[in-house]
Structure formats: structure tokens, C-alpha cells
Subunit: 329 residues, 2 copies
Amino acid sequence: MEFRLIDRIHARTAQVREDVRLGIGDDAALLAVPAGQELAVAIDTLVEGVHFPHGTAPADIGWKALAVNLSDLAAMGATPAWALLALTLPELPAAAQAARVDGLADGFAQLAQAYGVALVGGDTTRGPFTLSVAVHGFVPPGQALRRDGARAGDLVFVTGTLGDAAAGLQRLAPSTDPDEEKRRGFLRARLNRPQPRVAAGLSLRGRASACIDVSDGLLADLGHLCTASAVGAEIEVERLPLSSALLGSCDEAAAHDYALAGGDDYELCFTVPPALAGEVQADLARLGCGATRIGRIVEAPGVRVCGTEGEWLTPARRGWDHFADDAAR
Amino acid sequence: MEFRLIDRIHARTAQVREDVRLGIGDDAALLAVPAGQELAVAIDTLVEGVHFPHGTAPADIGWKALAVNLSDLAAMGATPAWALLALTLPELPAAAQAARVDGLADGFAQLAQAYGVALVGGDTTRGPFTLSVAVHGFVPPGQALRRDGARAGDLVFVTGTLGDAAAGLQRLAPSTDPDEEKRRGFLRARLNRPQPRVAAGLSLRGRASACIDVSDGLLADLGHLCTASAVGAEIEVERLPLSSALLGSCDEAAAHDYALAGGDDYELCFTVPPALAGEVQADLARLGCGATRIGRIVEAPGVRVCGTEGEWLTPARRGWDHFADDAAR
């Protein structure tokens, strides 16, 4: 079955790249990294019931499995190139299984084609529904965006808006109010079809002092960046970029909670020296994702959140922890 | 939890390689492929209850998760370099979880160190017990061992012995007979601690016309090689290399069945033109794994098995299919 499943996926994700010397069908793929480039590699797993709710459309799952990995490459400023897919599926009647596999492959392929990513290898096994994707990209030596370069005085930015995906997860049921349903549709799309900020990551190369993608929640991920850089950060809650869909579907306090601690945003959180802030922001605006300044890097460790009255807040949650938190999903 | 688990694994698998420019701890690892080498990449998943029985020692699972992937690199004639590990674990009390993670890491690290493989990235999530490992190795352009180069007249070889792992899976319980228990220990070790034939794969570069590793069973995997090469093969059952432990623990017919259709051997099955057979065999003997000629490549498609009286056999099973075969494990 391994071979037929992978063939089925491969047929729907065919992406011709000259640097793929031997693709799917042998014991390993053979690939040529361009001369003078470093290879950026990452792996991420999605588990049914943990990273996506039961009943999620297969095409959304296929998209997201690749998107969360491309987001890791984006956060490094790498150009995506190749992917491997390890797919574990429970038994289903043949027709239902084929429909599921085709759906997964279609969603995966849609995003892969958008970024010219070739699926070069895979493995399919029977078992609980999980997908592990490994991605490979290129970056010129010394130009990768790392977590450890933030310095006190740098400004903290995020792309796009925050909190939408976490709010979408709480609003999976359709609403009878057409306006509310429109908002929910937007929030669910942010949950199910995250847009990896690849172009933003490339634009930040050589300019951002540090970068991370927001997968576990802003406070958690900015905390990782600060720890790696041996600095701290102060965030102003009223600067958090919030979508109108989010603001329309809950009160402001809940929106702030989603934005600070909600996972699955897959926006980039990055730091830049103040002198570069204007040009970086203008470039990201031209790319369509925009970037909002939300705070600054300080010497004292930890991430602190400043409220609308200038007071320090104590957020109820710091972030998502898929592994420890039984109730989160 | 993701970070602590991966740190724990990383601490036990630290392997210094100059080509790892940035290892675990950022959104992606940064790696330098040596100039003039192609990159060989593969991914394989192990699922509890499918690829290893419940109750398997964590160190054996960690070893095997890397071994089955290094076997893919061996089958390409690639030199192993880097690995990514995506680990999904069900909840356990903290002490038991730590013991399991440490066991997994120890087994993984033992094999990684033997081959100088650096763990450069990972992901840990909560969910059903599965491990996906992606491996990366190097091979000079044009020298990889592929599946599609076998030609009629080539001789078919396998390294080591066949059928031990499948027999070991059927003999997990200890025996009260010390001789039988010694045999079972050998067979179980072949199941739990497969030795990837990396040195054999390197030795075969530029000489074997085709190569595959025996993971699903000889008939199935040789069948894949033949399909890729648009040829067929004839195997002589009495030439199958069988260990004394296997022969001592079952009758000859069962031993042949294990050797022909048993999975998890992780030996290399390869083809060579007759003129090179002697020197290839001598070189593999010097490497300690040995290689046995078991048949030859023919023009007619399919894999046929010739019995001890010269008759054509119809094997009961063709191989393991983890995905389709509910009862196999």
C-alpha cells in the first residue's frame, strides 16, 4: 500500500525541479543543493485531535501540514525547495480512504505549487492519523534569520494579525447570523489554511536581528526568542494587530488573550534595530502582509505585557503546549 | 514540553559535525552539504503496534527508528550525515515519560554515534506513540545505487541472512530451553537492533547495477527492484542465506517462508554483472556482512522461486504490508 498511496499523492503534487536528480520511487531521493547555499531543514508533525480537530477537511490538513513547515523556513529566511511526507492513516473502506488521500494530496499540492516545493519522498503506514513533514530550503551562508540575535533597544514586530486561528478553533460551528458567520469563516480559514510568511522572511534577511514564527502563541514564542538572545521584551497590548473578524466576534479582553497566547497564527515575530524599522515595515507592506510594531527588546529577561493604562498585565495563559495540555485542543 | 523533550534527546545524542552550522534550537537547522556531493534523503515512520510490538524496550525503538532510515541510505550507497526526529508520545506520569524518552534517546544515540550522524532537528508532540525519522547523506553525483539499473544476466545477491527478524517477532516469549532461548535472543536482536548495511552500500557504489534494502520481505522488495528495472528475477530457494538460529528454531519450509516473505531484515538485495561478482563478494566478506548469490535477473517480468527439485514454487506470502495487513503485527 505504501507505494500506491505515495504514487497517488505524487501524481497530485508533481512539481518539476531541476535540482531533484531522483525523486519518489527509490530508497532515497537524490538532490542537488545550489553551490554556495546552506540547507535549512525542519520537521513538524500534526496529530488528529491534537493539532487539528476531528472532522477537519483532508485538503485543509494537507495544506496545514506543509504550511507549518514552510513557516519554519520563512522564520529562517530560507527559500523553500523540497518536502518529505510521512503519513500514518487508520483503516477506512477503500473508497473513503482514496477520497481522504486525494484530499490530503490536493491541499498539500496547492501550497507546494504556490512555493515551487517538490515532494521528493514519503512513507505511508497504518496507524493513528498523523502527518510528519520535513522541509528543505536554501539560504546564503550567514544570512539566515536566527532566534539569538536580538539586542536591547531593537523593536519587536509581528506580521499580519494575531489570535485569529485560536478564535477560529473555538468557533467551528456555523452561525445563523450571516455577519457572524462571515467572521467565523475568516477565522476558520486562518486556522485551517495558514499562509506561511515566506516572502516576508526573505525580505527580512540581513535586516532583522532575530526572528521566530508564532506557532505556540506570541508570549511563548517571543519568550523563546528572548531566551535564545539573552534579552527580554516589553509588549504593549494596545499595539497588538487584531483582525476586524476577531474584534467582531468577541470582546477586547478575549481578543487580547487570543492574540497573546493563541497558537497556530504562523505569523513572523521579529526584531529590528530602530534605524531599519521604517524601511523594513514599508517593504513588508508592499508584500501585502504588513508588519506591526508591538514592543521593544530590553535587557531584563522575560516577556512583560503593558496594559492600556500603562500597567503591567499578568496574562492568564502564556501559550499552547500541545504536549502537556490535554484540554487545549 | 517540546523543548525539554528535544533537549533531553539532544543531550544524549550530541554528535559534533563541522557541517552543522546551526543545530537544534531554532526554527530550522542550517547545514552545509560538501561541494560536489548530492544529498540523499529519506523518511520512515514507526508506529507502536504496527512496526514494533507493544512492550518493546524504548532503547530498541530508538535504535530501530534510526536504523530503518540508515538502511535506506545504505541502499543508495550514501554516507550518513544528519537526522531529524519527530516523536509523538502518549501521556505518561513524568518519571515514566522521562525514562521512556531517555531510553529512546539512548538507543537512537548509540546508532547515531556509530555512524557519526548528528541529530539536527526534531519535534515532539502528544498523541499515539509514533516516530518519524528523516535522514540525510551524501553521495557523489552519478554514483548512487538505484533500483532501476538491473539487466538480464546480472546476478542477484543479498547481504547477511534473511528471515531472522520475522521469526524473532513470532518468538518474543522466552524459552525454558537454554539453547532455544539463545536462538530466540539472536532472532529478537535481529528484529530489535537491525544493523544498517552502510559499509556494504558504500562498497557497492559503481559496481552494483541496482540495490534495495529488504524491509518488506525479499520477494516484495526484489519485486520493486525488478519493476523499476523492467526485468524479472529467478531465485533458488536452497541458496537463501539462513542463520543457524533460524534453522534451529523452525523447520526448513518455515525458514524459507520467513526468508522469502518476512519483513524487517534490513539486508541489502543487489544485482551485479557476473564479471564483477567475485570481487564484490570478496569485498563484502572482508566487511564482515558477507553476501550470498541467490539467483539471477531475467527478461521476463516477475520474481519466480525455484525449489530444491528444480520446480517453481508458489510462496504463501509475498511480503509484509504494514498498511493493508491488520494481522501481520
